[in-house]
Structure formats: structure tokens, C-alpha cells
């Protein structure tokens, strides 16, 4: 985290098509990443808690049935069976809904996996309200706060299909426990097969010095859209894709604060202890500047369509734009 963050322009295609982006499911990135790992690494195992289809581990299951382990509806057992496999030198990936991965097996993640520091790779599906009609119980919105608080854990919230795939594969190289959060519905593709991905290194997708928009997950797209709109008003917004929430890229945040003087964070997660909190913790310790936090404001999700919910919960690009304007007013004031 001491080297400067590489600045890379957003890849051509996606930026051109912000208005009508290609839509792809991040969970497919997870599934495809596992498939690639299955080929490359004979010690990768995949465990699932009766959710093969919706987590897309079914791809791996079909190709590598001998390294696929069905656990049934027993998330606690799943976390610890994975730990047992990891203790033998295997690299187990487990998958269930993020609400259950982070909460139902939190103690197992903390004590058996993280305290022992075993390379268990936890896949949390259905992150955020964009899950849609299943409603509050299935919409994981506390994962960042929970996972971030546990020592030895790393946490990735990739922004699209490609990044999910790359992150899934990259996790296998890290000899520590990792958690990756992805979603259910198709979301805009904003990177491509060649965009660099380094665990712990934020990607600057767009340069700008007036304000920094730091986002993760599907909110990276919303931030890009917001930056476009802000640019039309003469405001140059930097867009930082903070795909790794832990360890967080302190350098990228400090530079954003110093060079832009105001920050908006955007996440599909509770406002308490999420990306906004993680960034704020760095900002007050390095370079205090006004921040606005676009997030779900401490309420449970509900049934509805993806777009409907994101609008109702105040996490669409207009909300990012409004937040940027508030932050800019405070920066000047």
C-alpha cells in the first residue's frame, strides 16, 4: 500500500456505453472463475449449502464433481468443513447467500477460519437490495461491517462480471481467508477482460480533481454515470473503484482526499460500518475532508425490482450526484 495507485482510464467500450451498458451477472463471474480454477488448480474444492444454481457453483459441480461438496442447508458446518479441508492444504471455496455466509456462520468464520488463518474462500451471493423480490431476509447488507471487523480476513466487493471473475481467481493465490461479495441480477459491465485487478489496490476509473467518488460493487457504475453528469456541469469527478474493502487502499483514499478535497462514497450496503465508514476512518486519520455517504440508511431491504429498490433506497446515480453537490458545497463553505 506504499506504492502509488496506478491510474488507469476506464476501458474504452464500457465508458462509451454507460447509457446502455452490457448487463451481466456478477455471480456468473464467480462461477466462471471457479471453472477456471478447477482446471488450473487441482486443490481447489467447492462447497455449497443447497444453492448450487443461484450461486452458479453448478458450473464447477458439473465439470469437477469429485471436488464439489454438497453440504445441504448447514452453513455453520460448511464453514468448518471448509476449514478442515484448508487445514489439509486444499483451497476450499464455499458459497451461499451473503446474508447467511456472513451471519449464520459468523462465529465459525471468526474462530475456526480467521483465528486459525486458513485459506477458506467465502462466496457471499445476493449482496445488496438488488437481489430484488426475495426481500429483506435475503438481501445481504451487513457483510462489509461484519467481515471487515474480523482480523486476518480480506474482503472483496467486485464491480462487475469481469472483476468478480478475476477476484475469484486471485483469491486462490492468497494464503489467508477471503470473502467475496457478489449479486444476483445482471449489472452493468464497466471493466473488461484486461482491466488489471490487484487485491488491495483500488482502480481509478476516471480522473478528476474536484471531487472523488469512491464506490464498490454495482455502485461503481452509478458513480461513473454520476461523474458523466457532473462533467456536464463542469465538475471533474474522480471515480475510484474500491473493489477491496479490506485491506483498504489507504494510499488511494489519502490521495483522493488531498487532491480532490471532498469525497462521496457509494455502496449497496448499510451506512454503518460499510465502505463509507472504512473510507472515513482513513480520511480522518490522514486528510480530513467533507464526505457524503451514499448507502442504505440503516433499514432493512424489501421486495421489489432492482431498479425500484435502488431508487427507493437512494442509491442510484442521481443520489450520487446530489451527494456530490452537497459535498462540494461543504468543501467550499
Amino acid at each position: 500500500m506504499s506504492q502509488p495507485t496506478p491510474v488507469m482510464p476506464a476501458p474504452e467500450a464500457p465508458v462509451k456505453s454507460l447509457a446502455k451498458p452490457e448487463m451481466k451477472r456478477t455471480r456468473e463471474g464467480f462461477g466462471h472463475g471457479l471453472l477456471e480454477l478447477g482446471e488450473k488448480r487441482p486443490n481447489v474444492f467447492v462447497l455449497v449449502g443447497d444453492l448450487s444454481g443461484s450461486t452458479n457453483v453448478s458450473f464447477f459441480a458439473e465439470k469437477f464433481p469429485d471436488r464439489f461438496l454438497q453440504i445441504g442447508i448447514a452453513e455453520q458446518n460448511m464453514m468448518c468443513v471448509a476449514a478442515g479441508l484448508a487445514a489439509l492444504g486444499k483451497i476450499p471455496y464455499l458459497a451461499t447467500y451473503g446474508a447467511f455466509a456472513s451471519c449464520r456462520s459468523a462465529d465459525q468464520m471468526r474462530v475456526t477460519v480467521a483465528y486459525t488463518d486458513l485459506p477458506v474462500k467465502i462466496g457471499g451471493a445476493h449482496g445488496g437490495i438488488s437481489v430484488g423480490p426475495d426481500g429483506a431476509t435475503h438481501q445481504a447488507m451487513e457483510e462489509i461491517a461484519i467481515v471487515r471487523s474480523i482480523p486476518n480476513m480480506k474482503l472483496i466487493v467486485p464491480c462487475d462480471y469481469w472483476e468478480t471473475k478475476k477476484a475469484t481467481i486471485a483469491m486462490a493465490d492468497d494464503p489467508h481467508p477471503n470473502y467475496i461479495r457478489f449479486g444476483r441480477e445482471p449489472v452493468p459491465v464497466v471493466t473488461d477482460a484486461n482491466t488489471p485487478f490487484t487485491l488491495g489496490k483500488a482502480n481509478v476509473l476516471r480522473e478528476g480533481k474536484d471531487i472523488a467518488l469512491i464506490a464498490c460493487g454495482v455502485m461503481v457504475y452509478e458513480a461513473l454515470v454520476a461523474a458523466d453528469a457532473l462533467a456536464e456541469r463542469g465538475i471533474q469527478a474522480r471515480v475510484v473503484n474500491m473493489h477491496t474493502l479490506k485491506p483498504i487502499d489507504v494510499d488511494a483514499i489519502e490521495r483522493a482526499a488531498r487532491e480532490c478535497g471532498a469525497i462521496v462514497t457509494a455502496e449497496e450496503h448499510q451506512v454503518n460500518g460499510g465502505l463509507g465508514g472504512a473510507v472515513a476512518e482513513v480520511v480522518v486519520r490522514t486528510h480530513p475532508v467533507p464526505m457524503e455517504l451514499v448507502a442504505v440508511h440503516d433499514r432493512f431491504g424489501r421486495s421489489g425490482k432492482q431498479e425500484e429498490l435502488m431508487a427507493a433506497f437512494g442509491i442510484k446515480s442521481p443520489d450520487v450526484i446530489a451527494a456530490a453537490e452537497r459535498a462540494l458545497r461543504r468543501k467550499k463553505g
Binding site: D50, Q70, I71, G135, G304
Partner: protein, 301 residues
């Protein structure tokens, strides 16, 4: 506030209505679960329209029996039973899983009056019912507590914590029903992660076990009577059912666990159930009677 105790013919008609409701509301929402709701329909109807003493007119009636579906995903059958029983207008079923409606994908107490405790994460409901049963006995209430669980759900460890608890405290006012449809999301329960011999497990955990065909309404009623008569221990009814029961192309196929029928499939299903999407939708839209009483039942057709 007596138990409803509808006649067998009436119960069978109600069950038919509930199945029609399920298909219709799923066709409308195009999101939600088909399989479990249909396997739970018959014993669910027996529970709501014969066994339980509930009062949809006064939700906080202290004398009411308490019911809780630990399998929160079977909201189509829960909401249909509630609406048919008079908890809310039938037309509300058409707002299932909609942002604007009050019928969440999984049961939410604050969205749907009548739901006692929200649910959706499997394995938690029996514990909730243990608390209710223990508290009811403490209050010297004669109320009974009913908990509906899934068979795949039996894989959750918390169920066995609750099971031990209920036996330890001899909660004979607690009756659990397991929708033993032998399927869960990823396939046959015995293939996914075997739970057999399930009756032995519950017996070893100190429960009275009744096995019954969960679609045979008289059998289910007898099982409830047996549970009521069993003292000193809780009773679990293993209701052997068929996932997707009543719809030829859904029966016994785990792929129907979590998907709704397309509109065409719904038409086919409703034809098998003796109606059509248009006419059953109309019935839901126009039938507004809230209360269902033995004398005033069956008004809809």
C-alpha cells in the same frame, strides 16, 4: 373465537382454492416458490380451517393459537391461507413480492399483520415457537403453538437445539409439522444430505412422532388430535407430501422448488384445477369478504 372446524368437503374445497390462489399469485408476480407451497396446501388448510383457534378480526386476541412457518419461502401458501381465512382481502395476493404491496417475498410482521414473527432464514422457526410455547404455559394459557418446517430444513443444526429444548421443557402445547416432500433446492433430500431415518431422530430427541400422508386431510386432522392428546412431550407430525402436489407437471420435481409458473404454465395448471387465470384473478379481485366462519364460508366460487 372457536376453532373453525370446517367439514371435510369444505376443507377440500378450501385446499383447491388455495392451490388456485398460489398459481394465480405466482403467475402475476413471476417470482416466488411453487413446490413447497403446493405440498403444504392440504395440511395447511387443515391447520387454518379446522385445527387452529385464530381470530383474524382481532390479531392480538390473547386466546389465539399461534402459528409460524419456519420455511419462510412458502409465502404463496401462507398468504393464501391468511387471505382465505380473512386476515386481509384476497385481492392483496396479486401484490405478492411487489414493491408496492404488503406481501414480502418472505413473511414480515410489520408488512403483513397476522404474521407473528418474520422469517426467511431457515432453521429458526422452531426456536421461536419454543419461546412462544414456553411463555404461553408460563401465562397458564391453553393456547397451542404450531410450527411448520421443511424437510431440507432439518439439516439446520438449530432445529436440533430447539428440539432438545422443547423436549427438556416438556412443551406439549407445541406441535410441529414437517412438510416431508423429499425435495429441496438442489435435488432429493436424501441425495443432497440425507436426513433419514427422520422419525427415529425426533424420537431420540424426545418427541412424540406421528407419520401421516400430508395430503390426506382426515389423516392430518387425526394427527393433530393425537398431538393435542399427547401430554408431557411435544409432537412432530411428519407429513409425507409431494412437492408441487396437484399440478401434474410440477409433482415430485425439485426444479419447481423456487420458480413460478410462466403464464402459459399457470393456465395449464389452473385448467387442471378447474379454473382459468382470468376467472381466478377476477375472483381474487372481487371477492372482498374478510371473515370466514362456518356458517358464511365458501361464498366464493
Amino acid at each position: 373465537m372457536p376453532r373453525l372446524q370446517l367439514s371435510l368437503d369444505e376443507l377440500r374445497e378450501r385446499a383447491l382454492f388455495v392451490r388456485r390462489d398460489i398459481i394465480t399469485l405466482l403467475a402475476r408476480s413471476q417470482s416466488g416458490h411453487s413446490g413447497g407451497p403446493l405440498s403444504s396446501t392440504d395440511f395447511g388448510t387443515a391447520l387454518f380451517f379446522h385445527e387452529m383457534d385464530v381470530n383474524p378480526e382481532r390479531l392480538d386476541d390473547p386466546g389465539r393459537d399461534l402459528w409460524h412457518f419456519s420455511i419462510g419461502h412458502v409465502t404463496p401458501v401462507i398468504y393464501s391461507l391468511m387471505a382465505e381465512r380473512g386476515y386481509f382481502p384476497l385481492v392483496d395476493l396479486l401484490g405478492f413480492r411487489q414493491f408496492k404491496g404488503h406481501l414480502q417475498g418472505h413473511p414480515s410482521k410489520h408488512d403483513t399483520p397476522g404474521i407473528e414473527v418474520s422469517a426467511g432464514s431457515l432453521g429458526q422457526g422452531l426456536s421461536v415457537c419454543c419461546g412462544m410455547a414456553y411463555g404461553s404455559r408460563f401465562d397458564r394459557s391453553t393456547r397451542r403453538v404450531y410450527c411448520v418446517m421443511g424437510d431440507g430444513e432439518q439439516q439446520e443444526g438449530q432445529i436440533w437445539e430447539a428440539s432438545m429444548f422443547a423436549a427438556h421443557y416438556k412443551l406439549d402445547n407445541l406441535c410441529a409439522v414437517i412438510d416431508y416432500n423429499r425435495k429441496q433446492i438442489d435435488g432429493d433430500v436424501q441425495d443432497v444430505l440425507g436426513i433419514a431415518p427422520l422419525a427415529d431422530k425426533w424420537r431420540a430427541f424426545g418427541w412424540h412422532v406421528v407419520e401421516v400422508d400430508g395430503h390426506d386431510i382426515p389423516g392430518v386432522l387425526a394427527a393433530f388430535d393425537e398431538a393435542r392428546a399427547t401430554k408431557g412431550k411435544p409432537t412432530v407430525i411428519l407429513a409425507h407430501t409431494v412437492m408441487g402436489k396437484g399440478i401434474s407437471f410440477m409433482e415430485d420435481d425439485y426444479k419447481w422448488h423456487g420458480v413460478p409458473p410462466s403464464v402459459e404454465q399457470a393456465e395449464k395448471a389452473l385448467a387442471e384445477l378447474g379454473t382459468s387465470l382470468a376467472s381466478w384473478t377476477r375472483r381474487l379481485e372481487t371477492h372482498t369478504a374478510r371473515a370466514v366462519t362456518p356458517s358464511a364460508n365458501g361464498g366464493a366460487s
